[in-house]
Subunit: 359 residues, 2 copies
DNA sequence: TCTGCTTTTGATAACGCTAACATCCAAATG
DNA sequence: CATTTGGATGTTAGCGTTATCAAAAGCAGA
């Protein structure tokens, strides 16, 4: 009763005394350093004191101030993760993969979505660096000059996911890197569709984003077509983010502008699904009249009628391994590992014809 | 070759040196307090100094330490948001609504997903409170006793979303509340399906979660059926989270266990979509053989063939208004507003028959 | 020129915590 | 029995920032 808390008014009371570790220590009859140890390094403290301190902390509803702790110890256990969007389940699943191990290791994930804008990424990186992050997770390899500079200057470990640093194709990774080559995905898709017998093959996506990863997928796709001496077709809408509705629109403009096209590779499964719905509505037979291929193998792909041929990437796994990489780096047991290629896999379903062996 | 630290003769340790505001001040030839002001309250400082300080800060890649700032000022501009999952686009869109205004006001959103577990929610609340949050956003009104206690003790403003505190139906809101009544949604769905002429109406969901909001939706649904003297049917799977695949399984067990059922209200659109895909596969005609109704009106609902009848809730709007509520509370211009009912709306599409006027 | 203001700038002391070192005390050693 | 030893506890000194108030500088009007 030494301390009289006059303002017991709960939620509206402006002035409220925070419970500090000193309060806990006083209550337990020890020095605050001892209380700190009892809470953070229990093994360094006698069993009896440990109990007393824990008890006092609980009784007082003590919650350690992480700002103060971080400031004093120099270690902020914050881990920002920047993704382009949460709209695609790809990124949600990557997050889940990351969540699997990081929070248990004491790290607090902070989420930011860049909406595919490098400028917004820069803002977010700047904001997050203020939290003394232990590391930063970024999506993709392409950042503004300032983003890279800030990150480099901060000396914070970085993992770039969802893209793969390849000599001559992409920029260099800032630090750690795990992902897959979008160029190769594009090439593989072109080759695959050609093997299925298609000759007028199109790429369809929302060019809006100018997302460098899509761009590289397109380039790979065009390279693939060129090697097979097939003509490239490209359609896109530039004014909206990806959605089922845009998928439908893309299908319509495709039929209008390139009626000769017999197969389409969409930038993602959502667009592909939208297109497929539109085909159902219009009575276009898939794959007989038109073949459709998606990208990323979201859950819906296997449930559509007919089921969608697409490209599977190991998102959850990628998140998990990114987390492991980080923990290893933070633990000091990692120097300069090369980029890790998670690869990808074409999942053959019913929206494309059976592929033939190439002679 | 890295830059050698030749500055202070600190004997041991201090190796990685952060750029502090003192460095910036020195470079600009002012006191650190002035530098702080130039950065945070530019209007309190002469134009000339402002420029000099900003310039120095930029040249040094200065990033203010938010932990130190928060500690000194007592104001952590952190805003934790706890959602049950990111798997449902509902929560993603709520997040977008929140993002719309909060970051610009300087608040840093911290995301946590509880996976529908109150225990995990408690953990997260405890972890987040350590960051001196300005406020906390929670999903739903049901929390562990300790969660409520910690929040109340902390004096932090709280907004509970996605549920509505109603006398006699739910618990009281901790502080601010904006959402809709799940009980009423259940009732409305039952009444609606009855008006469409169905008499053997089932509810299907993943009981796994024991999510109190679903439970209340079920209760409302049963109340609605009881008032109409219709028999209740209930099916659920208890071992997995919701997914398209589970939707298909639910449909199968429904046909097996309750073949007489002529209409189903699903716990969400994802399950309903899965069921619809399974109907397509099995040749079950919707709505002639079986009517299907979803919940939450995700994008896919309007694109399915036939388009899905469902219940629309204003997620984005809810996020936006939650943010406004918070800002008002934080600005001090808000005392004890009553829970805000965002309502809901049944969206009639093609998976149910045309409703008739009730006599 | 000087007095009484209003800016603008600076020095100092927290904020809550923990690293690093200092001290203490019981058990173990000679 | 004195003395070493090592684990348990306490003391001190920051961590990087901002609140607060004191000091200085500008700027009228007398």
């Amino acid at each position: 009763m030494s301390k009289v808390d006059a303002s017991e008014k709960s939620l509206t009371g402006r002035k409220r005394q925070r419970v500090t570790i000193a309060d806990v220590a006083r209550q337990a009859g020890v020095a605050s350093m001892t209380a700190s140890r009892a809470l953070n390094r229990p093994e360094m403290v006698s069993a009896e004191l440990r109990v007393r301190v824990l008890h006092a902390a609980d009784a007082l509803n003590y919650i350690p101030d992480r700002a103060a702790g971080g400031l004093a110890s120099g270690t902020g256990l914050v881990l920002p993760v920047l993704v382009p969007t949460l709209h695609h389940s790809v990124y949600v699943q990557i997050l889940e993969g990351l969540q699997e191990r990081l929070p248990d290791a004491g790290y607090q994930l902070m989420l930011g979505s860049t909406e595919y804008s490098p400028a917004r990424e820069e803002q977010l990186v700047e904001a997050f660096l203020g939290w003394r992050p232990s590391a930063v997770v970024l999506s993709g390899l392409d950042h503004t000059e300032r983003t890279s500079r800030l990150l480099r200057a901060s000396g914070v470990p970085v993992v770039e996911i969802m893209d793969l640093a390849v000599e001559g194709e992409t920029g260099q990774a800032l630090d750690l890197n795990i992902g897959f080559s979008h160029t190769r995905v594009g090439e593989a898709a072109a080759t695959y569709l050609a093997r299925c017998g298609y000759r007028q093959i199109a790429y369809a996506g929302t060019l809006t984003t100018l997302d460098p990863r899509s761009v590289r997928r397109i380039q790979g796709f065009q390279t693939g077509l060129a090697q097979l001496k097939l003509p490239p077709h490209l359609i896109g809408r530039s004014d909206q983010p990806s959605s089922l509705a845009v998928g439908r629109e893309l299908l319509l403009s495709l039929r209008r502008d390139f009626p000769e096209v017999d197969a389409v590779f969409f930038a993602n499964d959502e667009l592909a699904a939208g297109a497929l719905f539109e085909c159902q509505r219009l009575g276009i037979r898939v794959p007989d009249d038109l073949a459709i291929m998606g990208f990323s193998d979201e859950e819906i792909a296997s449930h559509l009628n007919p089921a969608l041929t697409t490209v599977r990437i190991a998102r959850h796994e990628m998140g998990r391994r990114a987390a492991e990489l980080l923990l290893a780096r933070l633990g000091g047991t990692l120097n300069n590992p090369p980029p890790i290629d998670m690869g990808f896999e074409i999942v053959q379903r019913r929206t494309t014809a059976e592929p033939q062996e190439m002679s």
